[in-house]
Symmetry: C2
């Protein structure tokens, strides 16, 4: 793991870019004591530099966590193909229009999840070697399918927050039952891209004994600010 740049932000959070082989990542920290780690992923193909992810990461870091995100293959700072970009654009358009997207989830997002998981685990290994990171580890992200897969295969993940997961590939819908860590599941009640009943079914399917659903009125990007606080308190209960 090589740090390639660092920047002290005006909220006191230290934002460092790193590379790990081909994987570009960002680490947000505040203070120097060993902090619990939060892996934060954005939904399918959105870059780790996306302003909404950065805002969540900075807020969480300022609350005493080390927060890390990486770009998936073909996303953000990594080489991209025109075909993938087109597929992503098609997917976003279809979701916003409320059209069915199961096929594209199986053919495109499914492999993206499969490929992303080993990279996140490699990143986790490297992060846990840093003196400023002490574990335990949580997952917090809009990429619900990745979170499900990680929570199933990665025993170091002790708690998970998922956002708006109406659509996930069939493989992750099926392995949701194997997720047993404490869970906070965020749902936008009128999310144009994530059918409500599917999200409720997914919440129902998780195997966790402690799972909480927070649903708020409004569309996909309308999550109220107080859910960021609630999300941190959920992490506090399980990681601190």
């Amino acid at each position: 793991m090589q740090f390639t740049s660092e920047k002290r932000l005006d909220d006191g959070v230290l934002q460092r870019e790193f590379t790990l082989g081909e994987i570009p990542g960002t680490l947000w920290t505040s203070g120097s004591a060993p902090a619990p780690l939060v892996l934060m992923a954005h939904n399918n193909g959105l870059p780790k530099a996306d302003p909404r992810l950065v805002a969540r990461a900075r807020y969480t870091a300022a609350r005493g966590y080390a927060v890390a995100s990486i770009d998936a293959a073909g996303c953000g700072d990594r080489p991209r193909s025109a075909a993938d970009e087109q597929t992503r654009a098609d997917l976003r358009r279809a979701m916003q229009a409320g059209e069915p997207v199961d096929e594209i989830f199986e053919s495109f997002i499914g492999p993206l999840v499969e490929n992303a998981v080993p990279e996140w685990r490699t990143t986790l290994d490297a992060l846990l070697e840093l003196p400023e990171i002490g574990g335990p580890v949580g997952y917090s992200g809009g990429w619900t399918a990745l979170g499900i897969r990680l929570a199933v295969v990665e025993p170091r993940i002790a708690a998970a927050g998922f956002f708006a997961g109406g659509y996930v590939p069939r493989a992750q819908r099926e392995e949701a039952r194997q997720v047993t860590v404490p869970l906070l599941f965020l749902l936008q009640w009128d999310d144009e891209g994530n059918p409500r009943q599917r999200a409720l079914d997914l919440f129902d399917a998780f195997g966790s004994k402690e799972k909480t659903l927070h649903a708020n009125l409004g569309g996909h990007t309308g999550t109220p600010w107080f859910e960021l606080e609630d999300g941190c308190r959920f992490l506090d209960r399980h990681l601190k």
Copy 2:
């Protein structure tokens, strides 16, 4: 309004019993500054002395609220009829067994709500005259039907927290659309007495622009302790 007894509890909260005509009530306060008021009702016919209600009231008072509850006619400290007691026992048994209870809700709970609302409003008038109560006013309670009716007819109520309202009389299901104050709606995912889909439909029906659903795994009395904190933070956002 006449205070009939007072007791300083070990958490520093002052618990005072009062009567207002035929209505027996309890007021919990901490400190002497004018505090926002929370009307706290328990579900159908459970007394204001019920330990779960008292625990919620004390916690909320210690967070800087004046909290008040009254016994409805035929409940708690008020004269009771054997017939009503029998109906209540039948209702609880049927709800716990997951049997349909619509008929009993229409014939028994409906009038109970109608009769309770003017008493709560009279109590509200009297409470707001006390120097230690400053408004604004919130409602927090397991008696969802009462809360809906109060939120519709009582403009002084600025925010409402409801709990587990799968079953409410038809009149309140219909007037849910007229509720427009910020709302926190608590649901137990496996509540034996409140069908989940009905509770979700009720949440959907509320007219509030800001409404949040918190659902947790478990049965009717299994609400996790952290929802008490979340409920206070919801009140903080709207009443402080």
